[in-house]
């Protein structure tokens, strides 16, 4: 009786997740194998046309490696920018920690559309950076900062940096400062301490942060479409085009699943290479 009553607590959420997450994902899987049709989202019967369509057209097929590369570049930039920040906050005094933590979290409090818009103001041809450089007489023509991979990676790195810093921070804060002091007193140089003590201990944070940023980056829609304009076509953008603008549901679903499986493989390879311990 008691166990039955306790299970009533989880029943609504369990039903919610099952009906509105698990079943819908199964629907996507089924949809990807439906027959295509003209004039309506999908036809009668089943086929693998959606998958064939993706791999037979270079425009679509080639978007996959470039999207994965874009995701990896964003992840790398986030790691390079985020690690010193996480280290700084982890070792900062209590007074500073709150403020720095606030700065790192601030992008999360501002919608993704607004943040991407901020980047278009900064990077545009007559944007803040180009206008400043031109007024200083350093350049004649605007630098190509936007509508290309460079701009998209930069903006994506900004949008997802908190997701790198937070896991890094939680793993760095678990390090006992006494270990570093011990290494110091035994004569280790600061870089050696970082390489042999700090970095290995922070590895779970590095792994979690990299996986989070990578998955978020390759599935993002707003930033590539606003900062990339029509020039940067990621697979996610093509999926939405196919589903919403062209009403090709089987094709769009197949493309979404191919992207998800590829991303999963990249994550698995990364986990394998970094000897990740799954918890």
């Amino acid at each position: 009786m008691k166990r039955f009553r306790a299970s009533l607590l989880i029943a609504p959420v369990a039903a919610l997740i099952f009906v509105f997450v698990i079943l819908p994902y199964v629907t996507v899987l089924i949809m990807s194998f439906r027959a295509t049709a003209d004039g309506q989202p999908y036809g009668q019967g089943f086929s693998v046309e959606g998958y064939q369509q993706f791999f037979s057209q270079p425009y679509y097929a080639l978007s996959l490696p470039s999207s994965l590369a874009l995701g990896m570049a964003t992840t790398l930039v986030c790691l390079i920018l985020g690690y010193p920040i996480a280290l700084h906050i982890a070792t900062a005094s209590r007074k500073w920690r709150g403020l720095l933590y606030g700065i790192v979290l601030s992008p999360l409090l501002v919608g993704i559309v607004v943040r991407s818009y901020g980047w278009t103001i900064l990077l545009g041809n007559s944007g803040v950076i180009n206008a400043t450089l031109r007024n200083l007489g350093l350049i004649d023509r605007p630098l190509p900062l936007m509508y290309n991979n460079f701009g998209v990676v930069l903006a994506l790195a900004h949008v997802f940096l908190p997701f790198m810093v937070l896991p890094l921070l939680s793993s760095l804060q678990s390090i006992d400062p006494a270990i570093a002091q011990a290494a110091r007193s035994l004569g280790a140089r600061r870089f050696t301490i970082f390489r042999r003590v700090t970095f290995p201990v922070s590895m779970p944070g590095v792994q979690a942060g990299c996986i989070l940023v990578f998955v978020l980056a390759i599935s993002s829609y707003v930033t590539p479409s606003l900062v990339g304009g029509m020039r940067v076509k990621t697979t996610t953008l093509l999926v939405i085009d196919a589903l919403i603008d062209q009403y090709q549901w089987p094709f769009g679903s197949a493309m979404a699943l191919i992207l998800a499986v590829s991303a999963g493989l990249v994550v698995l390879i990364f986990a394998r290479l970094t000897r990740m311990k799954w918890t």
Binding site: V13, I17, V28, S106, G127, T132
Partner: protein, 259 residues
């Protein structure tokens, strides 16, 4: 190493600037007196805020987003707290499965969840017209934030205080209201603020499931930005940033001192 330390400090400062720059630049752009987003600005003015205040499309979008966020947060508060109580007290060896299950909407790519919901609601014959799909999506996106925050309040505390209250004759309901609820109040308030902001700002779910008619603010702003370059969008964004800021500060003043 002596040279590396100041270099690292400069690098860190640049990263902090990098984090704040796009947000500050939006606020500055909203004060531009010119017709376009030129830099340096052609004088300062509040004219774009005035334009925005006379633009029903954006005002409706803000009201719509706020209503949606409030409703989704209310439902998530109830469901998320129940799930959290189960997770911390009764889940036993299924705890990890429960945790992953509730966090699924956070772990899975939002845009893919949105597409999945779109198909699902069409397959069961409901579609996106009645906003039920949109609302369900927002509940799913906000649920993990309530769950995580209430967990933090409950962890390390067993249900013995509540049991004590029951032994002393309190009804199940009284024990919950007088003992458990004050215990999880900080988690509930932080979770609610998070949930509201997530719902207010979320894009993928709203973009795919919005249906026809009125759309949430991020969608309205996105559509506007694709074809317009006036500082009005910056004014709208600034108002949205200020709303979030007010919410966070108010929540901190009201509930922040408790823990």
């Amino acid at each position: 190493m002596r040279i590396a330390t100041p270099l690292l400090a400069v690098f860190r400062t640049l990263v902090y600037v990098f984090l704040l720059a796009p947000i500050l630049v939006v606020v500055l752009a909203s004060l531009n007196a010119g017709n376009f987003l030129t830099f340096p600005p052609q004088g300062l003015s509040l004219r774009w805020f005035w334009t925005f205040l006379n633009n029903d499309i954006f005002l409706n979008a803000i009201a719509y987003s706020a209503t949606l966020a409030a409703c989704a947060t209310a439902v998530s508060l109830v469901l998320g707290t129940m799930a959290s109580l189960y997770f911390t007290r009764h889940a036993g060896k299924h705890a990890e499965a429960v945790r992953i299950g509730v966090l699924l909407p956070l772990i899975l790519p939002e845009i893919l969840t949105a597409i999945a919901l779109l198909f699902f609601f069409y397959e069961i014959g409901v579609g996106t017209e009645h906003k039920i799909a949109l609302f369900t999506g927002h509940v799913l996106m906000t649920l993990p934030f309530i769950f995580l925050n209430v967990n933090t309040s409950l962890q390390g505390r067993d249900d013995s205080i509540e049991l004590a209250a029951r032994t002393l004759g309190a009804s199940r309901y009284t024990a919950f209201r007088r003992v458990t609820l004050p215990l999880i109040a900080p988690g509930l308030s932080t979770g609610a603020v998070f949930a509201f902001i997530i719902s207010f700002d979320t894009f993928g779910i709203s973009f795919i499931l919005k249906g026809t008619g009125s759309a949430p603010l991020p969608i309205q702003l996105f559509d506007y930005l694709r074809f317009n370059f006036t500082p009005e969008a910056a004014a709208v964004s600034t108002v949205s940033i200020l709303m979030t800021l007010v919410l966070v500060v108010a929540a901190d003043l009201l509930f922040g001192r408790r823990d």
